[in-house]
């Protein structure tokens, strides 16, 4: 390393998606023969940064220097050729092809113009062995492998490309402890071979074990860089917190209504390997938050309540009585009265080419019709009420809903469900990608609905929202509830610490030893 030029330097990288800035003049230097950890909250810009590095997105401004020469990558293939290989969070394996096919996919060995299957097999076996995954058969189809094995294939595939810079984006999230230790041994060997490794993880103990250098991102900027081990977990969390803006939240009721009987209750709910023994209650008039890092089972939990998952074990109780909810149609029946505001409004919430009117009345059509004929007048009254209540800004009810802004689309999704007057409202990260003004309106609405007696279960990736909106927050980690925070306990520090599965004792306010 002897003070040489960094292998890769990124300077002043900015990237916007629509009105949302994902990166704002971010810098990063990567040196050969070291492991560099990138930390930050959900949405801090880490993923966008490495996507820019790996040729998946083109930055709006800024420059990248590889070996001191300016480079830009038009595609992931171009970045690969330059020696930058990324293992993405969303796996990049082709499910219908075999493990060996996948490992050599970007540059298969050829003989007489055709793919040399023997050579391919040999390369695949070598790569699997290097990744410590020799138990995976090269001829197995990727779609038949469990997630943890797929992740090992992904790592083997990256190694087979002989990278100079290897980026691991949450690459260990689905691995077993045994695999993680194998991978760590591999990564340390690669470091000694002179590779530059970028390691993105939310697991503080992994970073403490592996990293040489750490960089913290916040709001699309790199806010601090320091040698690993020179800061306590507490200080790192402080660096990750701290936003420049704050939302205005409606006041919470003085005390949460702890006496009311629970409307929605789960007992020991488990599903596949994604949910483990989840028990919770939501009372009428209460807003209960689901916290934790993205992808810890929050989405599956909401789907489980809404009748989408099969093979659930455990119990769901409505008004204290056990129920079986077999489909979303059953969940919205009056006896249950549940509504789910989905995460992806474009595919699960709206029919984009259809009109605002049609979208609004979908969920309530059975109530608005007699003998299969829609009562137009009743429909109109209800729609007028909703458009007024939510202040939906639209040029008319008969334009396609796809023409509205993101915030107004989300209001249509919510209004659609409110037309049924649900008693239980599940929200799956409803404010993602919408403007601050609309967010505020949604916070007010949520509180208004709770005051009117609704039981609300609210998943958000934005900690501010959980703090500002919720009476209680359940923090999920790896499909289980790790912690329940009530009232004043809901702080950014507590949320982040429990999301990272660090116990409070490990982040004392005074300086502690490193983890």
């Amino acid at each position: 390393m002897d003070g040489a030029v960094p292998l890769l330097r990124m300077e002043g990288i900015s990237k916007r998606y629509g009105g949302v800035r994902a990166l704002e003049k971010a810098d990063l230097s990567v040196t050969a023969g070291s492991i560099h950890a990138i930390l930050g909250e959900n949405g801090a810009g880490k993923s966008t940064l490495i996507k820019a590095m790996a040729g998946v997105v083109a930055p709006d401004e800024g420059r990248m220097m590889l070996d001191g020469r300016e480079v830009s990558f038009a595609s992931p293939g171009a970045a690969n050729k330059a020696g930058i290989v990324c293992i993405f969070q969303e796996l990049s394996l082709v499910p219908e092809l075999s493990v060996a096919d996948n490992i050599v996919i970007s540059d298969p060995p050829k003989r007489f113009g055709m793919i040399d299957r023997k050579a391919q097999r040999r390369i695949a076996e070598e790569a699997l062995a290097r990744a410590g995954a020799a138990d995976i058969h090269p001829l197995a189809l990727v779609k038949d492998l469990p997630l943890s094995r797929r992740q090992m294939v992904e790592i083997a595939k990256a190694l087979a490309r002989k990278p100079r810079i290897l980026i691991l984006d949450e690459a260990t999230s689905a691995l077993t402890a045994a695999d993680v230790s194998k991978i760590f041994a591999v990564l340390k060997r690669l470091r000694s071979e002179g590779l530059a490794l970028l390691y993105i993880s939310h697991r503080m103990n992994e970073i403490a074990e592996l990293a040489d250098q750490c960089t913290v991102f916040r709001n699309g900027r790199n806010v601090a860089s320091y040698p690993a081990g020179s800061k306590s977990d507490n200080e790192v969390v402080e660096l990750m917190i701290g936003r420049e803006y704050s939302h205005i939240f409606p006041p919470k009721p003085a005390a949460a209504p702890t006496t009311a009987a629970p409307v929605l209750e789960a007992r020991k709910l488990s599903w596949a390997d994604r949910l483990h023994d989840i028990s919770l209650t939501v009372r009428a008039g209460e807003v209960v938050g689901l916290g934790g890092l993205d992808g810890q089972g929050q989405r599956e939990l909401l789907l489980a309540f809404f009748g989408v998952l099969r093979g659930l074990s455990g119990q769901i109780l409505i008004d204290g009585k056990p129920v079986t909810i077999a489909s979303p149609a059953a969940a919205r029946e009056d006896s249950i009265g549940m509504a789910l505001i989905p995460e992806d409004r474009k595919t699960e919430g709206l029919m984009l080419p259809m009109t605002v009117r049609e979208n609004l009345s979908f969920a309530a059509l059975d109530r608005l019709s007699k003998a299969g004929i829609i009562d137009r007048a009743a429909e109109q009254r209800l729609i007028d009420d909703m458009v007024g209540l939510l202040a939906i800004k639209t040029a008319g009810l008969d334009i396609p809903v796809g023409a509205l802004s993101g915030g107004n689309q989300q209001k249509v999704v919510i209004a659609k469900w409110l037309m049924r007057q649900p008693r239980i409202i599940l929200l799956n990260d409803p404010t993602r990608g919408i403007d601050v003004g609309t967010k505020q309106e949604l916070y007010l609405l949520m509180r208004k609905l709770a005051d009117a007696g609704a039981a609300i279960l609210f998943y958000s990736t934005d900690y501010d929202e959980l703090i500002g909106c919720c009476d209680r927050v359940l923090v999920l980690y790896d499909g289980a509830v790790k912690r329940e925070l009530v009232g004043a306990e809901i702080t950014e520090r507590a949320l982040i610490a429990s999301a990272l599965n660090i116990h409070d004792a490990e982040i004392p306010v005074t300086q502690g030893a490193d983890a």
Binding site: V56, S75, P76, G77, A78, N80, K81, F88, E90, L91, S92, L93, V94, P95, E96, L97, S98, D101, N102, I105, S106, P108, K110, G113, M114, I115, R117, H137, L139, A140, L141, K157, W271, A272, E300, L303, G307, V308, L309, R310, G311, S327, E348
Partner: protein, 326 residues
């Protein structure tokens, strides 16, 4: 698991189609008055290879998760063209064959360019181009007619060493010259990868566009080979609209019977060939059992329905109902 078990799992669809075909063909020949002899096999082969070529063409496109509704029309167009061009001296005939195949390639390339670079949906794009190809065929042959080099035609529809049907030998040769190299080439793998997961393929730096383009283009070529053989069998060119549509739809049926997934990324042209041969045998079976030919569409439908239902069993294992819609 041992290697052969993976191989078996991969070839399951193809082997199933082979099994269905052998069973049906055995029932057919054992009930045929003449039994299993070279004549019966030759007749069956000559009827079967036409659909087999068109089904191979369809397979290439279906592997990319697309669909080609113009294959039947390319088949007709090249038939009409061949009835003008594949005549005369051996030299002229050779040039004629080359021209017909080139037109097939061009038709496929146009489909590919529209779908890949024009970003139109394959179903719409190929309905439109199919109508155009049919229209050109109709201009070439407003009425059935024309002729073909009969020496060549008889050689390719007769028997080799008086035993093996020449059309089957030709089919095998085409498999070896077109399908095997394609499926083992980088472009072929790109076609599979694009059909299975286009995002993952893109992220892995796979040449998706070239792979898909090659698939569409070769599909045109294979349909043209089918068109040539149609001319060899009938000695005429005939722009018969109903026949073109039937070949398109039957090619999709054959592909499904042959274990090729309509969702893309999975299956082999060899499976589709057996699917086509099996599908063709349905009509023959009705014939030996003295059914009215009017029953044929109904039986074809029932067999197709059964075959497709077998493929749907996987849905019973889905645990997250949202995956039904992926």
């Amino acid at each position: 698991m041992k290697d052969w078990r993976y191989w078996l799992a991969e070839q399951r669809g193809t082997l199933l189609a082979l099994g269905i075909f052998i069973a049906m063909f055995a029932i057919y020949t054992s009930n045929h008055p003449a039994g299993f002899n070279a004549n019966v096999v030759q007749t069956a082969a000559n009827k079967g290879v036409l659909l087999a070529f068109v089904a191979m063409a369809q397979t290439l496109v279906v592997i990319t998760a697309g669909i080609d509704l113009s294959v039947g029309m390319i088949f007709l167009l090249t038939n009409c063209l061949a009835s003008w061009l594949v005549v005369g001296t051996p030299m002229q005939t050779t040039l004629g064959v080359i021209a017909v195949l080139a037109v097939g390639l061009l038709c496929g390339a146009i489909n590919g360019a529209i779908v890949i670079y024009g970003r139109l949906q394959p179903i719409v794009a190929t309905i439109a181009t199919g109508a155009v190809y049919y229209g050109i065929g109709l201009l070439l042959r407003p009425f059935p007619g024309g002729s073909v080099n009969e020496n060549l035609a008889d050689a390719l529809t007769g028997r080799v060493f008086d035993v093996v049907p020449a059309s089957l030998v030709a089919l095998l040769a085409i498999v070896l010259v077109i399908w095997v190299p394609f499926s083992r080439s980088v472009l072929g793998r790109a076609a599979y990868a694009a059909g299975s997961s286009e995002t993952a393929a893109y992220m892995s730096g796979v040449p998706i566009r070239r792979g898909k383009f090659a698939a569409y283009t070769l599909a045109g070529l294979l349909a043209a080979i089918g068109g040539l053989f149609l001319t060899f069998f009938t000695y005429t060119g005939d722009a018969a609209y109903a026949s073109g549509n039937a070949y398109t739809l039957f090619s999709i049926a054959a592909v499904v019977l042959g274990g090729v997934s309509l969702f893309g990324g999975k299956g082999s042209a060899i499976g589709a060939i057996f699917g086509a041969l099996a599908f063709r045998t349905i009509g023959d079976l009705l014939f030996v059992f003295d059914f009215d030919p009017l029953w044929q569409p109904l039986f074809q439908g029932v067999i197709l329905l059964v075959a497709v239902s077998l493929g749907a069993f996987a849905l019973f294992r889905v645990r997250n109902r949202l995956e039904w819609f992926l």
